[in-house]
Symmetry: C2
Subunit: 222 residues, 2 copies
Amino acid sequence: MAKTADDTIAVRISKVLADRIISGAIEPGARLRQDHIAEEFQTSHVPVREAFRRLEAQGLAIGEPRRGVRVAAFDLGEVREVAEMRAALEVLALRHAAPHLTAAILNLAEEATKAGDKSRDVRSWEEANRTFHRLILAPCGMPRLITTIDDLHAASARFLFAAWRSEWEIRTDQDHRAILSALRQGNIESAAATLGRHVQWIGQKPVKTASGKMREAFAIVG
Amino acid sequence: MAKTADDTIAVRISKVLADRIISGAIEPGARLRQDHIAEEFQTSHVPVREAFRRLEAQGLAIGEPRRGVRVAAFDLGEVREVAEMRAALEVLALRHAAPHLTAAILNLAEEATKAGDKSRDVRSWEEANRTFHRLILAPCGMPRLITTIDDLHAASARFLFAAWRSEWEIRTDQDHRAILSALRQGNIESAAATLGRHVQWIGQKPVKTASGKMREAFAIVG
DNA sequence: AACAACAAAATTATCTATAATTTTAAACCA
DNA sequence: TGGTTTAAAATTATAGATAATTTTGTTGTT
């Protein structure tokens, strides 16, 4: 991840914690204890508290007054909610980005798609997927929209890792190719429609919980 | 405003500051100095810093490491951006809320519309307008979506107050009535389409700046 | 008068310490 | 045994103090 040295300590802590929450290293519902984290990062708890506020804003943690902060839990409803929000906002972003897309950008996006198809683990697949979406949406020139979409992507990745933690199978991404093809032909509406459907595709898989039981797990796969 | 006494001090401060920024009491670009604010609220600066992080997340303030926090500036591009994001997300919320809307809720929404038509100042008009939107969208059962829309409403209100600070003229809200009528008839698609158009309507007016010059001001009016 | 270098003041970011609250555990009684 | 009250420990939230950085003001020089 980005380790910009001139960041404030609070930002650095929030990035590390965000990565842990997204990757599933910290369980949903787990308490985040400020003194412990402060000790781990060799700081006082003041920057830790500021990091907490940042995580809350991203929807990765939930704080209750006087009783601390815990990792946000999530259920199928939230997976669906994030998927629908992404669909609505990414379609909006694509419509604005499309006029500014160059052949060079589309080629980079194609590279990202290939990298995704070749990846052997969820983590690298997710990164390639995120790169693809970021590449074709960034030129929209709407910073607030991009920030919101980024937070939703983080949530999506979290659901994905939770569902596919152990096993993982390769899928070649036809949707990405269809989107690129439509964009190259200048068919923005078709690209937007495919993107909207693509993001709302929700994968589903049985996984074992910590207690050894089987349950259905769901994740946004796109 | 809500003065929930059991809130943490940081939350209380952030609410007061948010209100000042939205109402225009603090100018865009103005620096927020933590020690001064801490003194005003009779606290130390630690809760003030946490309030700053919260304001940043809402897009109302911008912080740069080691050089403090300032009130977010905005231009026509951002007004448009917020309007489009609201259109996309409120339409999504309405589609999910519609099946759960009761006659009682729609009547309350009609009351809010009437209150808006009768209001003599921007502030009360904005409040009535926000109530209308909140009433018909809240039953969607998507908390993250509602939170995001609320932040966008705050931004909208900010633009509105900046544009119409001094003068204000009454407009009866035909869009709200059309939306209610469509919802009562169960015509969700028509209601959603009208809502989408409604939120994207951007008002425009010449206002005088602090330096006495005239400039064009723009605001989301819906 | 304009510009640069330097010094002083103000401000931010962080640390250490204290007060208040909640959680955990234990003891006690029905 | 089970539930309730009480006490102890842990944890959160805030205050006060310190170090580091930026901003501001002043002086000197061309």
